[in-house]
């Protein structure tokens, strides 16, 4: 009995020291030991500026520059399309969904938005003012081309 208690205690000590030494090396977003309950960060605000953003690459789905809180997108109604659909943009003055949304997977152009493109937030996301949790080394292709030309 005493032996097993000692063994468990030894395991526990070894475990915590291992975890502490590992915490410096393993990439983690949780900078606290499992036992600690850190204060959660503030929920970031959605950027509601209505200004278009540059795309990271030409095929990138544009990000949403406004709030979409509680927008209903289901079988019964699509709040996004009530402004962005072809027939609605004249009144709403919102950008129309791109023509790619009207083709099915065989490239056939349909009269309405294709069901596979119906759920907007599968690709399009509103943006927040949160600071990135990890560093990003992504390079824009235009910058790469510029660097390439400069080196030659």
């Amino acid at each position: 009995m005493k032996r097993s208690t000692f063994f468990i205690a030894a395991m526990f000590v070894a475990g915590t020291t291992l975890a502490q030494s590992a915490s410096d090396e393993i990439a983690t977003l949780r900078h606290y030991t499992l036992g600690d309950e850190p204060e959660p960060p503030r929920i970031a605000d959605i950027i509601d500026s209505d200004e278009r953003r540059a795309r990271i690459h030409p095929m990138q789905p544009p990000t949403i520059p406004h709030k979409i809180d509680n927008y209903q997108v289901d079988l019964r109604a699509n709040r996004c399309l009530s402004c962005h659909s072809r027939t609605r943009v004249e009144e709403s003055q919102a950008p129309m969904v791109s023509v790619t949304h009207y083709t099915d997977r065989d490239g056939i152009v349909l009269a309405e938005v294709s069901p596979r493109r119906y759920f907007c937030t599968q690709c399009h996301a509103a943006q927040t003012d949160a600071k990135p949790l990890v560093q990003n080394t992504f390079q824009d292709v235009a910058d790469m081309l510029g660097a390439d030309a400069a080196s030659q």
Partner: protein, 198 residues
């Protein structure tokens, strides 16, 4: 038979000329006090039916529209000002309120006979019910919205750009009223296929 009629006649004499039996002061003051009690009682009962607690007694309201309201900004927001059911769905003016309350008797009928006693039945009937409310708000120029959201007090400089544009283009000249664009803000939308503007 004749004695019954005689007795009724006697009652009627007392009833039609009470001042022969009771003093003028008693009748005046008594009538006044009774009036207060009845009128007050009527209004108290009326106001009791004009509360969220009353509305959500029925599961049709509690499990459908009220449950949906809870996720919206009209229920929970930064300043804690919120709208309850009657704020939007019962006119504030007395005559209009009584008219609406009379209409609501049909809703009691619907509850008793289970017109929308399941979620499926409610979804089936939802477009029709929503159309009633849209028509009502359209007809009174979104009066229940404007009871809180005054166009005059709206600070456009504090709105987002697209809100400013839409309000300046449509709301200020009176081309549209609130409900024309702001459908489904406090509850989920019905099947909107075929609805104008969707």
């Amino acid at each position: 038979m004749a004695s019954v009629i005689q007795r009724l006649k006697a009652y009627w004499r007392t009833f039609s000329r009470p001042s022969r039996h009771l003093s003028m002061g008693f009748l005046t003051v008594g009538g006044f006090v009774t009036g207060i009690i009845f009128w007050g009682g009527f209004n108290t009962a009326l106001e009791a039916t004009n509360t969220e607690v009353f509305c959500t007694v029925c599961h049709e309201m509690r499990d459908n529209v009220f449950a949906e309201l809870k996720t919206t900004i009209h229920y929970s927001n930064r300043s804690g000002v919120r709208a309850t059911c009657p704020d939007c769905h019962v006119p504030h003016d007395w005559t209009d309120k009584i008219a609406r309350k009379m209409q609501a008797s049909k809703e009691v009928w619907g509850h008793i006979f289970g017109t929308i006693d399941t979620r499926d039945k409610f979804q089936q009937k939802r477009l029709e019910l929503a159309k009633h409310e849209w028509a009502r708000l359209k007809a009174n120029d979104s009066l229940e919205c404007r009871n809180c959201h005054s166009e005059v007090s709206m600070d456009f400089t504090r709105q987002s750009m697209r809100a400013v544009e839409a309000h300046q283009r449509e709301l200020v000249p009176g081309n549209k009223t609130c409900i024309d664009c702001h459908k489904g803000i406090a509850h989920q939308l019905p099947d909107m296929s075929g609805v104008e503007g969707w």
